[in-house]
Amino acid sequence: MNQVKRIKVALIGNPNAGKSSLFNYLTGLNQKIGNFPGVTVDKKTGTCYLNANTQADIIDLPGTYSIYPRSLDEQVVFDYLTDTLRNERPDFLVVIIDASNFKRNLLLFTQVKDLGFPVILALNMLDVAERGGITFDISALHRELNVPIVEINARTGKGLDSLKAALICPVHVIPDSFYKSSEVAGPLVKQIRERFHISSDYMALLLAHLHKKTTILTDIERKEISDLVEKYHFQSNSLQYRETLSRYEDIHTIIHKVMNEDKMQSKVRWTNKIDKLVTHKIWGYLIFFIVLFLIFQSIFAWSELPMSLIEDAFGWLKGLINSNMSAGYLRDFINEGIISGLQGVFIFIPQITFLFAFIAVLEESGYMSRVMFIMDKIMRKFGLSGRSVVPLISGVACAVPAIMATRSIETWKERLITIMVTPLMSCSARIPVFTVLIGLMIPSKPVLGIFNLQGIALMGFYLLGFIMAIFSAWLLNSFMSGKGKSYFIMEFPTYKWPRFKNVSTAIIEKVRTFTFEAGKIILAISIVLWVLATAGPSNAIERAETSVKEQLKQGAITAETYNNRMASARLEASYAGHFGKFIEPVINPLGFDWKIGIALITSFAAREVFVGTMATIYSVGNTDNEISVRETMKNQVDENGNQYYTLARSGSLLLFYLFALQCMSTVAVVYKETKSWKWPLIQFTYMAFLAYGSSLLFFYFFR
């Protein structure tokens, strides 16, 4: 075997040009998602064998229309390209071009080529172009652009071998450029080139334009460029304007020589017909409503079976450990600390899978752009954008990937407001809490024959979360100054059948993000909480144990209830129990005692541990069964012998769980996405205030 050669290849192109399809074809499942150094936005990398002894590391960059970034997604592309000044350069940049939208796609190509990278042009969607009456003279195109050109079809995988072959041949970079940067800002470009040892004029010009946005420069270097820019009276905006015009002039000349357009509009017609329907003022919203209903249905009904299978699997695993390990602290730690924590992560995977399957299909097909289009005006009234629709819907499964989905919102203010309100959407971690508490509050009785009162109440709480999200957005919007322009310039992609491969990779990517981003925090916290709930100050736990044993001897408790009593006595004596008692005065006005206090503390990291904590507090043997927990809670009585979980108390608790930001993973992801502690702190405080206030009012009025 000879040594395997590794090369680096980056894929770049307009959104909807077929970049992700190509990436998925090339790499299959050999993908991983990592973070750019210094930047929090994800990049996707994968590997692919070009031939027996060449392996390519392929980097999939987000779609962009131009090198000048206008959104966070586009910033990633710019950062990647400028990073090559300091770190290693890719051996190839493959620019994917949508042939049916050749003119606009070529703009990015000319920019990338001027940066002096070895470029390969992958011409995609020639079939779509042909149907629209557009044909190309490839050899003429080759003469004009002077780069290797590969015809591909990213939907069928056609032309992939030619692309791989092209990646093996070295490319000779011709130092000719479309746009002559030195002619518009000669001295400035020259000085920046010399100062930073840059080989291309255009890269130097880009630094002059965007030095404030680059991540590779130090503050001092940024200041240097700033001074130079000022010295030469560099007019960034008007130069950018002229640059784009000049590039399009070149593109026009090229197009005349290489492209033949026969005006006939056959394909457009059925796209138009669908558009007419889905953006209709009645049918449009009705269709969107049905889609939403299907998504909800999948999260609630279809996920039930896989979720119970996961529960069973973990139960089996615990049983296995129980029968194979000797009883003791280590076994408890593995079972209750680690395995339960893992279960808390895995249990949400079915719901997240369903939700993102829907979203991926809607995005792939092109329908999502139409939803954003019809929702924009409504959302804007509350300071949001049409693009906020995707994060808000995703928030129903989990706020972590939902907040990451806000990156496509170009306007900072609209993006920030979306981030701030998304956690108010009821995520799937609230479902077990809702199940228990709604069961306590509301009798299960049929309404109108087909509905159930509890089901309607559940819908109501989801709606309440959504209304509060919208209201909070409006509130934030009126407090924040409206600096900066808002953008909603968005391409309507043509409709396409979603590719299974793209949808499945999107799902895998989201599930992976959730499992690692949210999962590691949930797991870590559940271990910490387990320790807090099993250890206590000095010998408090031993004393509690002796007292329960004493009671058993005296016959005050039976042998059957002994184990459960022991567990609750231990919890009461533990650190968690002490914390619960410590915060009791604060939560007393909401109708909560120290036992609920323990649950509030343990749910701080992740809400779903509520059920398990309640089970331990009230000595329910079977900790994983929501129904038995609910029954036990129902039977609790106060000192006067009345039912403890009254409508007022359960409702107050439910509102608290609906509004409070009890999720460490969300706090962490908001910190990452806003790059400061300010916003997660405001968000946490605001939601705590909302939770406390509404619980207080509810308990006060319904007591």
Binding site: R104, L107, N237, D275, F373, F488, E491, F492
Partner: protein, 76 residues
């Protein structure tokens, strides 16, 4: 001409216009990149249910934008 300043926001559905300039520098940079060039013909394709945003056909594809953005595109 009765109204000398006509913008893309004033177009009726199905109506065409030729871009002759922009009123906002920052927005114009994005619009240029998306292929809305001076001299290009645009057609108002549809409006969202509340009249905003709108969809225009330019360069053989469909582009949606808000009315505030459309009003920065001057037509001749």
């Amino acid at each position: 001409m009765p109204n000398p300043v006509k913008t893309a926001a004033d177009l009726k559905i199905g109506e065409k216009g030729v871009i002759c300039g922009f009123t906002d520098e920052e927005t114009s940079l994005k619009l240029l990149e998306m292929g809305c060039l001076p001299g290009c013909e645009i057609l108002l394709d549809r409006k969202a249910p509340f009249g905003d945003p709108i969809c225009i056909k330019v360069c053989g594809y469909t582009l949606s934008m808000r009315l505030t953005e459309a009003s920065t595109i001057l037509l001749s």
